[in-house]
Subunit: 304 residues, 2 copies
């Protein structure tokens, strides 16, 4: 199988379904690309589209998506709760299967250079693809958001884009292009409605406060009509080979039990690499000499 790459562009539009449909259509039109998921958030006024394929069709689809978004989403009009710097806010490339992260870094840089030229759009490289170390953190690139960047770009050299003009695109602003490992969004719902407990557990386990490596976590209270209220530990596992699902859940379970409660159930949001789920099975069963290749469909996919 040739290199398999996932692309997860985020668009600053979550209220007009017809706009997202148009962008989805532009992606679907590219041969060799599989559309995996798309979701739209009205509150955040933001949408996420996930697609995958070999490098070349993925770049073509991402380019087409940027083109449509610049036509259809005007940042001068856009308002929303989520931080953003442009119509297409962020475009990460993610290695799947046996693809290496380095291939996605190269791809992100080539792609960034290409859309900067094609659309006269300022491009900032972030994550593993960053050329300036401080830009590894997306929050640094997005500092001040669209409005703040518009004031600083071309004035403050620290805000110079990596590619493209030193001024915002008149409708589309700017875009962050990067490479990262697959991210797993995983929620653990406690058999408790104690929000403070969820927050304490989140703080204990997250890497930024000295917890588990490659884990981001926050505590929230889930309130759905007709359902019990759950205190939830909501996580991003940003490198499951460092901290996997089972390890994170085990830790949360001990902390919950120490506080006199337990886990009620869990939720996987969107997609996860099959390997991360198979690892849970292998650990639970204490499987000796297990390889993800023993999952038939994965073995077949690899051979194709």
């Amino acid at each position: 199988m040739s290199s398999l790459i996932e692309c997860v562009p985020n668009f600053s539009e979550g209220r007009r379904p017809e706009v997202i449909e148009e962008i989805v259509r532009a992606i679907r039109a590219i041969d060799g690309v599989s559309l995996l998921d798309h979701s739209r958030d009205e509150t955040h006024n933001r949408s996420v589209i996930t697609f995958a394929g070999a490098a070349e069709p993925v770049v073509r689809a991402a380019t087409a998506a940027v083109g449509r978004a610049l036509e259809l989403i005007d940042m001068e009009q856009q308002r929303g709760a989520h931080p953003r710097i442009g119509s297409v806010d962020v475009i990460p490339f993610v290695p799947l299967g046996t693809t290496r992260l380095e291939e996605c870094v190269d791809l992100a840089r080539r792609f960034g250079e290409q859309i900067a030229r094609l659309f006269d759009l300022p491009v900032y490289l972030y994550g593993e693809a960053a050329l300036r170390p401080e830009r590894r953190r997306l929050a640094e690139v997005r500092k001040g958001q669209y409005e703040g960047l518009k004031e600083e770009i071309g004035v403050n050299p620290e805000r110079d884009p990596d590619f493209g003009p030193k001024r915002m695109h008149p409708r589309g602003g700017a875009v962050a292009v990067g490479a990262r490992k697959p991210l797993i969004a995983f929620n653990v719902n406690l058999a408790s409605d104690d929000l403070e407990l969820a927050k304490r557990i989140a703080q204990t386990i997250r890497e930024s406060s000295g917890g588990l490596p490659a884990v981001q976590a926050m505590g929230v209270l889930l309130e759905n009509p007709g359902e019990p209220r759950y205190a939830q530990v909501s996580m991003n596992l940003v490198d499951w080979e460092r901290t996997g699902i089972a390890a994170a859940v085990d830790r949360i379970r001990s902390l919950a039990r120490a506080a006199g409660t337990d886990i009620d159930h869990c939720e996987l949001i969107g997609l996860a690499p099959a390997g991360a789920l198979l690892e849970v099975a292998a650990q639970t069963l204490r499987l000796r000499d297990f390889s993800p290749d023993q999952a038939l469909e994965l073995r077949l996919a690899r051979d194709r």
Copy 2:
């Protein structure tokens, strides 16, 4: 994705690697077929080759494999511990992905008719592809083995093949062709060397003695030099959607604990459908609203 079918022919040769290599080469030569596994057993004098692909290339590869085996394995010379009726003893077709079992039944019958004609070989349909109800059980088809069948074929109408001549192929004997669901070979090693306990547990859980549906099980003693001896419950899960890995292991764990011991570890032999392993993860994590489609690579494979 077009229908994905797995084929798992068993050959009555496990002592001459060069013979199995020749057969593997014949299978590999067919475009559109993935070779998934092959294993050779000297004691049983038997080999198993696993390959998969769309219906048409799989049939071509299976036909090529039969042709080579009839040339290279002479049943008049063959001796071994494993029951067998021919050079190619049994050829099951197995549905993968979204393929239905019925497609494999049709395929097995068409393929059986075709190789009977092509090689002048008696073919018995078994499993879900059986035309006579008593032949659903492979043991019934293999009754008396090669030597016994050779005496009865053409004499006893109950042993008439479903296709082909009413006499054995001069070198290759006869073959059983069938369709079945994917089978999971799964061993549970107890933290004990009590063979009688493993046998009692196996008897309690196997379907034939009123245990779990679609479970075959036997108790054996594992003796590997330099390792502790393990009493092992060795299972075939012949329909994991009826009894899955987690359910079988849970049952064995309770029985082991009731006898004062526990499970030490488990082993998955060969390949298993990804769904059967993901189910273990989903149950362990009590994942709400989980679908195997959330495993990225499976989702992608389905879309291709």
